[in-house]
């Protein structure tokens, strides 16, 4: 009758991912309270966190944060396994696929804004593809594509700028973002 204790080793990586995922989930929940003119048009603020994690710690961490955000965020707002959850998941998976490629863009020419805009388009693409295959099996969904693409461009730029600004702030704990100390204005 000895109580068995299972000790799960927790690494520094786990803490870091959990911390960023928590921030992303908080943004998802905050965003769920915002009214939207059209279902599917959302700022996607959690993607700011994914971008920061991608640039600082690489694609693997970004994928963890993004997928944890989708699953846990949907649990918190009561959307788990609802259609919106699968749309978010499709968007997240597509944008992670694009992020895997976009992170290899030459950093001298392309900043977080480019990556953010590409990921935003991938997000919309994944969502609309799933909607066409599963939810609305009719070409009529493509009628909304220009509006979604406009929103993706707009919010992609804004999120990218916010991420770029956050990345310009030097990190205190790990020694990752070294060269971004305010270059003389």
């Amino acid at each position: 009758m000895t109580p068995s204790t299972i000790e799960l080793p927790v690494s520094a990586d786990d803490y870091r991912i959990a911390r960023y995922a928590a921030a992303a989930i908080a943004l998802t929940v905050a965003e769920a309270a915002l009214p939207s003119p059209l279902p599917g048009i959302k700022p996607g603020l959690a993607n700011i966190i994914v971008l920061v994690v991608l640039v600082r710690y690489g694609w693997r961490d970004a994928a963890w944060v993004s997928l944890l955000r989708v699953v846990a965020g949907s649990l918190v707002i009561g959307q788990f396994l609802a259609p919106g959850f699968f749309l978010a998941l499709a968007g997240a998976v597509c944008s992670l696929g694009v992020l895997a490629l976009a992170q290899h863009l030459p950093p001298r020419l392309f900043g977080p804004v480019s990556i953010s805009v590409l990921a935003a388009f991938a997000h919309i693409g994944g969502q609309i593809a799933l909607a066409r295959i599963w939810l609305v099996p009719h070409d009529g969904v493509f009628y909304l594509l220009p509006l979604f693409a406009t929103a993706a461009l707009l919010f992609g730029i804004i999120n990218g700028l916010v991420a770029a600004r956050l990345l310009a702030i030097p990190v205190a704990i790990p020694v990752a973002a070294a060269p971004a100390e305010n270059p003389a204005p």
Partner: protein, 148 residues
Amino acid sequence: MTERIPDGLREMLAQATGAGHLPWRTLLKPGDWLLLVCAAAVVAASYPLLWRGGVADRAIVKRDGQLVTELALNVARKYEVTGAIGTTVIEVQPGRARVLSDPGPRQYCVQQGWLTRANAVAICAPNHVTLQLSGRGGKNTSYDTLNY
């Protein structure tokens, strides 16, 4: 009130909003500008590409389900069809068409007014005449008819 904010957070806020910070545009690199211009062009092009499906370019006139004529919607003209009980007059103007007059007793197809969208249809049942608009390429053949 500012004293209540923990030091670390105040520092972060100061850095995020702080004076002497880099202006936003310095966060964009040359490739970013290029990509943004390309993306904006693609988005702008997607509007006419995906939204022109509803634009009609031909009027199809049928009697007893048989094609009588197809009228291009680029020049104004009138067209007369003789049906079961008399003559129906179709009027075409650039981008739209209507049934101008019809011998039918209730005049439904006349009162429908101008048709502007592809696949819109006006049916003059007593005279066995229909007027239907058709879009380019006949792409929307999955609809039988659209009505508003």
